[in-house]
């Protein structure tokens, strides 16, 4: 246990300077806004009083370092300030949005794993077969489709042609679990396309490598059939390390806000919020979103590192 704690501590020590650098960079960004920040936010028609009031409210009239120190002080008791126009606590809005984004990310990751793992197992066993070649082509094509193309295509097929799902919008799970899934399906699918291809390629190539190992030969020599060798014990588990890494990367990417997908399907998640915040120049909100992204990134990497030791006992947690 203490070993694990120490390992987490060392990784946090790497992550903390990253957090400070990024959030300070965001605080610094405000100083580059043309005119004064409040002037840039309110536009040319704003009265000098309104500009001065807004500058004072967000401390934009203070030196950068002092403003950043205030932000950190607020952060210490989870106060990230207020949103620009609705004047809600940023942390409340963020929490609400994160629930939606997390659901979407979870669905997308689940879809990706359910599809990619069995397919990778099958094609690793039958390398060079027709399925292997077809999936190789499909997966490399999917990796070249940016999310702003896949959302358009997914919506073209499922809402315009098949009319099977609502085009945009969101219903929370508490209101109606069934409608929630109906609204979540297309965005999750659009997110999953890319991740599925990524997971599939990595897992397949790791499986192929593991199948060449001596212990697989031994297991086969003992008479264990091919399909059982590949089942969890022998081949799948040692092949998981890269997949776990990519899973961490993907989870970080999706939790940090799938900007395009949430924007396109009008979903009230972190990504949708960041677009709204850019539209009104809500720098406070943007700083909070970026800070959240960094925290998620650092936490996921700690989890991924710990997962290694669990998957492969030869890896010691350092």
């Amino acid at each position: 246990m203490t070993v694990v704690l120490k390992a987490v501590g060392i990784r946090l020590a790497y992550g903390i300077p990253v957090f400070f650098l990024v959030t300070f960079g965001m605080a610094l960004l405000v100083d580059f806004m043309p005119g004064s920040p409040a002037q840039a936010i309110l536009g040319d028609q704003a009265t000098p009083e309104a500009v001065a009031a807004l500058n004072a409210r967000y401390g934009y009239d203070l030196p950068t370092l002092e403003r950043y120190a205030n932000w950190l002080a607020g952060l210490a008791h989870l106060d990230l300030g207020q949103t620009l126009f609705t004047r809600e606590p940023v942390i409340d809005v963020l929490a609400r949005r994160l629930v939606v984004t997390a659901e979407l990310a979870g669905l997308a990751l689940a879809m990706s794993l359910i599809v990619s793992v069995p397919l990778a197992l099958v094609t690793a066993l039958r390398q060079g077969g027709w399925l292997d070649r077809v999936l190789n082509l499909i997966s490399s094509a999917l990796l070249s489709i940016p999310s702003f193309v896949s959302v358009v295509l997914v919506s073209l097929v499922f809402t315009v042609w098949l009319k099977a799902f609502p085009a945009t919008g969101w219903v929370s799970f508490v209101q109606s679990p069934l409608d929630n899934l109906r609204y979540a399906f297309l965005p999750a699918l659009a997110l999953a396309l890319y991740e599925t291809a990524f997971f599939y390629r990595v897992l397949r190539s790791d499986l192929v490598g593991t199948l060449r190992e001596d212990f697989v030969l031994v297991a086969r020599a003992k008479g264990i059939p091919k399909w059982r060798v590949i089942a969890p014990r022998h081949v799948l588990r040692p092949s998981l390390t890269s997949l776990v890494t990519l899973f961490g990367v993907a989870a970080g990417r999706l939790l940090g806000g799938a900007v395009i997908v949430e924007f396109f399907f009008s979903i009230p998640g972190i990504g949708g919020e960041s677009i709204a915040a850019v539209g009104i120049k809500d720098m406070n909100m943007l700083q909070a979103i970026v800070a959240l992204g960094v925290v998620i990134y650092v936490v996921l990497f700690i989890l991924v590192d710990l997962a290694y030791a669990w998957i492969d006992p030869r890896v010691s947690v350092r």
């Binding site: 094509a141 990519l246 961490g248 940090g256 395009i260 960041s274 943007l286 960094v294």
Partner: protein, 293 residues
């Protein structure tokens, strides 16, 4: 973040795959497509028969019509030539891709070289810089930048260059570490060469193959992020055409004219696919496994 980072980078970039004939065919296809695109973009103004990107050449949302060059790929939602807008859009996309990759390369080589050669404090600084850049979600960071300083071609290009430089820092540092103890470096040092000379004249030329294999990958990333920004309406300001903007405009009218998005979607796909295919091929011919930090 040592172990996972290492493995992440080696997994994504480093596995030395054997690329068979299919890989070589895709590589040649990718080079041909990009060459065509570059030529069209460079000579857009003097291609005979190519209408201007704002010129209305017919009714809206026409399908492909092979009779004139302008209508070859049909027209968009307001009757402008898709072909012309794609070619002029390629100018912006490819220019940003090239310039920001050069910026990323410059930052990456400087930090990575110092980190790999001097180790110690320089290595710590390089690690923190690379980790910081990796932790930044590129799109959200660019959106924050746009919110602060507005849409500017140079702002976006430089920011993209900074965002992608983390990969060059890691790759350079790993390759320098692998080279710093080699005999040729020792030989140069014993002849009295300065550190700067060793880094630039001895080690740097040996990094070129590895770095070159990363270039197409970051170019694909840049094209995608720039396209995303344009798609969201925060890219290069109108009236300049951009692929992302064309796809966004086509998506608005997709119920009535689903065909309008076909041309920009296919162009974008082929471009990203070409970059990836070239990157895969070059990657299979160099060893990027040393890209650790």
């Amino acid at each position: 973040m040592t172990a996972s980072r290492t493995t992440a980078i080696t997994t994504i970039l480093g596995r030395r795959r054997r690329v068979g004939r299919a890989g070589r065919v895709l590589f040649i296809f990718g080079v041909a497509w990009l060459a065509l695109l570059v030529l069209a973009a460079v000579f857009a103004d003097v291609i005979p028969g190519l209408p201007g990107y704002e010129e209305k050449i017919g009714s809206f949302a026409q399908g492909p019509d092979l009779s004139t060059l302008g209508t070859l790929l049909g027209t968009d939602g307001v009757g402008r030539s898709n072909l012309s807008r794609i070619i002029y859009g390629a100018r912006v996309s490819l220019m940003i891709a090239v310039v920001s990759t050069l910026i990323g390369l410059l930052i990456g080589v400087v930090f990575g070289m110092l980190a790999g050669y001097y180790r110690g404090v320089a290595e710590g600084v390089g690690t923190i810089v690379a980790n910081t850049l990796s932790a930044l979600p590129p799109l959200i960071m660019l959106l924050a930048l746009v919110a602060a300083i507005g849409t500017s071609l140079w702002g976006i290009t430089i920011a993209l260059g900074v965002v992608i430089s983390d990969i060059y820092i890691r790759v350079t540092k790993g390759a320098v570490l692998a080279n710093a103890q080699r005999e040729y470096v020792l030989a140069a040092r014993s002849l009295g060469a300065s550190d700067l000379r060793i880094m630039l004249r001895e080690i740097l030329p040996n990094l070129i193959p590895v770095l070159a294999s990363v270039v197409p990958i970051t170019m694909a990333v840049v094209v995608v992020v720039e396209g995303s920004l344009s798609f969201l309406g925060y890219g290069i300001p109108a009236p300049n055409p951009s692929w992302g903007g064309m796809i966004a405009a086509g998506a608005d009218t997709i119920r009535r004219y689903p065909g309008v998005i076909a041309a920009p979607v296919i162009t974008l796909f082929l471009t990203v696919f070409s970059f990836n295919a070239i990157g895969d091929y070059l990657g299979s011919r160099t060893d990027r496994r040393t890209a650790q930090i």
